[in-house]
Symmetry: C2
Subunit: 338 residues, 2 copies
């Protein structure tokens, strides 16, 4: 799949999420990790001849990225999304959903070859006096198409972006992060509506959201502080789940078997948890008419996180042996690298 | 002059400085003043068919402009500098002086019709962990050409940007703000050097700087905390003085008669001083071969600042008359509007 151009009816999308650029940026050793992995992901999209990039939120780790972080991210987006290549798909929905009133590659003053689409996460959500987010700065700089912002929580109307490439029609429903309890309540109260294109069955329906995902009753999250797959409409074909850092990139059938769910996971470990320890991935998905194929691509720049259990009672240490405790500490340290 | 296209040998430059965008932005009445006047200035450049815009620093009032301020400024620059019109001059000096390695209108992925060039002021100077300034964000967004940054204060080498339009050759020497005492010392110690193009006499030499200006011994500024005209080299033809908010836009001959000095002044009053109370201006200058003409244009969006002296002893008030004092206060108030 990679290196070959997608055919005239195949829309190829680089899927990534939770890149958390700027995470730990003051750390002398790990400070550049998040940015390097963002670049690796963008490189995968370029080498893989993606038609577009779709980001699931938490692009930035900080709501107000540092100047250096914003600058370097803009530089990367400029490098990987602008160029003289042709965009082979059309946006046929109302471009008024974008802040600039048009999708960036239609701006006559910009040459965009691989447009970047994104929703916001909880880390980079809009707010403050201006009620803007970092994505708005990227947008006015011609570097992204920001969508999926819903301000009226009493009436959340999700209008898809409609993309057409040859015979393939893809509707993308964006839902930027909303506080989980509030969104849960809005779903329960039927205050979340999806607008669908006419000839609904001729479209491939993708939803991208950034919320806690219900993991059954085993999880620590109360069931009202997350979104259950069953709450999402059955006409969807594929749901891209952002916010969950665990990489479950291979599409899984939803509980009721109505759609697939893929959860790309974060591209940098932001916590010392087993969920962050697995191999990280992005994915290239090919949509051709009504079907899709997912090609997960591992990220090799990610710093390995190794977790191991130590059973103290088996170490032969005496509880009162201070010297041994010191020694044990120095042993335990390298076992938990991030 | 305005409304007519400059001829093929005339380089027309919109000159502005100290726009202090974001000044007082939380003020409910005056919050948008600085941005509105920036737009008025850009409009003057557009209507006046300027070939380029040259800004003398303090574009932003805050070193870290708020998100809304940055966003709206970027939006204005996008609106007024990008477009399908042709740029009628050439930059023939090494474009490595720009952070992106090229002047923005030469970027094949951008359509720039009226390029914006700027130096930094003391308000928007580079620093912090990244050692960047707000201008670098504009630059990576394709919205400005930032120059005149000198990092080695032991050896300040001012290399001009060389612009050619028809028979006219203009060399622009940029010097972004440096702490006045340090720059003064560097000049005295001959650590400031100017590189000039070959055939120096065939060029029109413009210097743009952002420093305290020596005003004789009457001023409050110690003479080592400012730059004296006599310190600047005599081959210059025109010096554009930023930082001084007083509008002295009409070019004045320097003390030794070697060059002209124009001081456009701020476009928003940032202090309650007589210097800020005059009518504000920007200027369109036409350079044709060795000569220039300056066309000052008043800014009408600037909120009038009226200053009047009140001699309390002439008001007929008794010192102990509290009621009268109250009354006087309510009279005095409207006399000092900003
Ligand atoms: Mn995240
Ligand atoms: Mn998140
Ligand atoms: Mn100023
Ligand atoms: Mn200043």
């Amino acid at each position: 799949m990679a290196d070959e151009l997608p055919d005239a009816d195949t829309l190829r999308i680089l899927i990534l999420t939770d890149t958390h650029v700027g995470f730990n940026e003051k750390d002398k050793v790990r400070g550049k990790d998040s940015l390097e992995t963002l670049e690796e992901a963008l490189q995968i999209g370029k080498n893989g001849r993606a038609d577009l990039i779709l980001h699931g939120g938490d692009l930035f780790h900080e709501n107000k990225p540092s100047r250096g972080c914003l600058f370097r991210t803009m530089n990367l987006l400029k490098q990987y999304t602008m160029g003289s290549g042709e965009v082979a798909f059309e946006v046929v929905s109302d471009p008024a959903c974008f802040g600039t009133g048009q999708v960036n590659y239609k701006d006559p003053n910009l040459n965009v070859e691989c447009p970047f689409f994104m929703i916001h996460g909880n880390h980079d959500d809009p707010g403050g006096e201006s009620n803007l987010c970092a994505a708005n700065i990227l947008e006015v700089g011609g570097l992204c198409n920001y969508f999926g912002r819903h301000e009226d929580l009493e009436d959340i109307v999700i209008r898809p972006i409609l993309l057409v490439k040859g015979k393939t029609r893809v509707a993308i429903y964006g839902l930027g992060n909303i506080r989980d309890e509030r969104l849960h309540r809005a779903f329960q109260a039927k205050k979340v509506r999806f607008e669908t294109p006419v000839d609904t069955e001729k479209w491939f329906h993708v939803m991208i959201l950034h919320q806690n995902r219900h993991k059954g009753n085993k999880g620590a999250v109360p069931s009202k502080a997350c979104i259950h797959e069953e709450m999402l409409p059955s006409f969807l074909d594929l749901v891209i789940w952002g916010h969950e850092h665990d990489c479950q990139v291979k599409p899984q059938e939803s509980l009721r078997g109505e759609f697939y769910v893929m959860q790309p996971g974060s591209s940098v470990a932001t916590s010392l948890s087993p969920q962050e320890a697995g191999l990280k991935h992005v994915a290239l998905i090919d949509v051709k008419e009504g079907v899709f194929r997912c090609n997960p691509v591992p990220l090799w720049t990610v710093r390995p996180l190794v977790m191991r259990d130590i059973v103290l009672s088996e170490t032969g240490l005496l509880k009162t042996d201070t010297q041994q405790k010191q020694k044990q500490r120095s042993i335990a340290k390298p076992k938990c690298r991030i």
